[in-house]
Subunit: 144 residues, 2 copies
Amino acid sequence: MEHQHVTALKEAGMKATPKRLAILEALNGLSCYASPEELWKQLRARFDRLGLPTVYRNLEELAESGVITKVIHPNRQLYYYFCHNRDHHHHFVCLSCRKVEDVPSCGIEAMAEVVQQQSGGRVLSHILQLNGVCGSCLRSGAPQ
Amino acid sequence: MEHQHVTALKEAGMKATPKRLAILEALNGLSCYASPEELWKQLRARFDRLGLPTVYRNLEELAESGVITKVIHPNRQLYYYFCHNRDHHHHFVCLSCRKVEDVPSCGIEAMAEVVQQQSGGRVLSHILQLNGVCGSCLRSGAPQ
DNA sequence: TCCTAAATAGAAATGAATTCGTTTTAGAAT
DNA sequence: ATTCTAAAACGAATTCATTTCTATTTAGGA
């Protein structure tokens, strides 16, 4: 279990520090997404010295390297989720209980309908946004 | 032109105040998304008294009623865009020049490919997130 | 066991966004 | 045209999630 996470970190080129591992374990033990502060409060019980910036930094780095997933929330806070699904997919996140359900990549309207029927939940809104650099910027050598 | 916006506001059940109209006009005059503060700075030249909270409030209300579109940005700032496309669609937003291109709703992978080829740009990442309430929350009467 | 780049602490700063009590105003009613 | 009232705006002050900074510690290769 734990060694598996050590390996995941090594593969991502990150040192397997106790605190980094603990953050990963804590997320792994949750079935929902969590905020940096929540994880910090939970982990402070185990580490007498643990800075909140350390939690922020690690979560961001872990998300950056693809080990965990960042959740975009309407309240504009940061949340993270440990998703084991290695296939390309998307998420149905519950704004109420924070549960995360995997959604295969497909037509978004049909997707919303299927998710609603399969989960018994209600899709209130969706975010679909492609980020990148447009053609004219690419040609003008604007920052990537 | 302007009367068209007055009508749009009335239809949304909002008073057509000069400042609200000006905010809408300012967004309409842009071919890209803008931040509340940018719009505020631009409009302060025309109104000796214009509070930044007023801009924030109006943009949020206009987005809420569907008159304008909120852009979700990796830098976590708020941006808004005046989109005239009434059909259901999504957006390809350029992180560099802020240009917004409409994207029809379809399979997201194929979509990214089509957008890249048609725009000559580069899709670096995408956000696809369904927000809502899951089945168990619905059944337990959790907040919508 | 060294050594060094990476990681952490923790106080302080940041700054986008919001709150709040007051004042003003759009637009319906008269 | 005038009155009235709920909606809108003001703007200083505040909030608070997130980040920065410099000194200190540590993981893990040599």
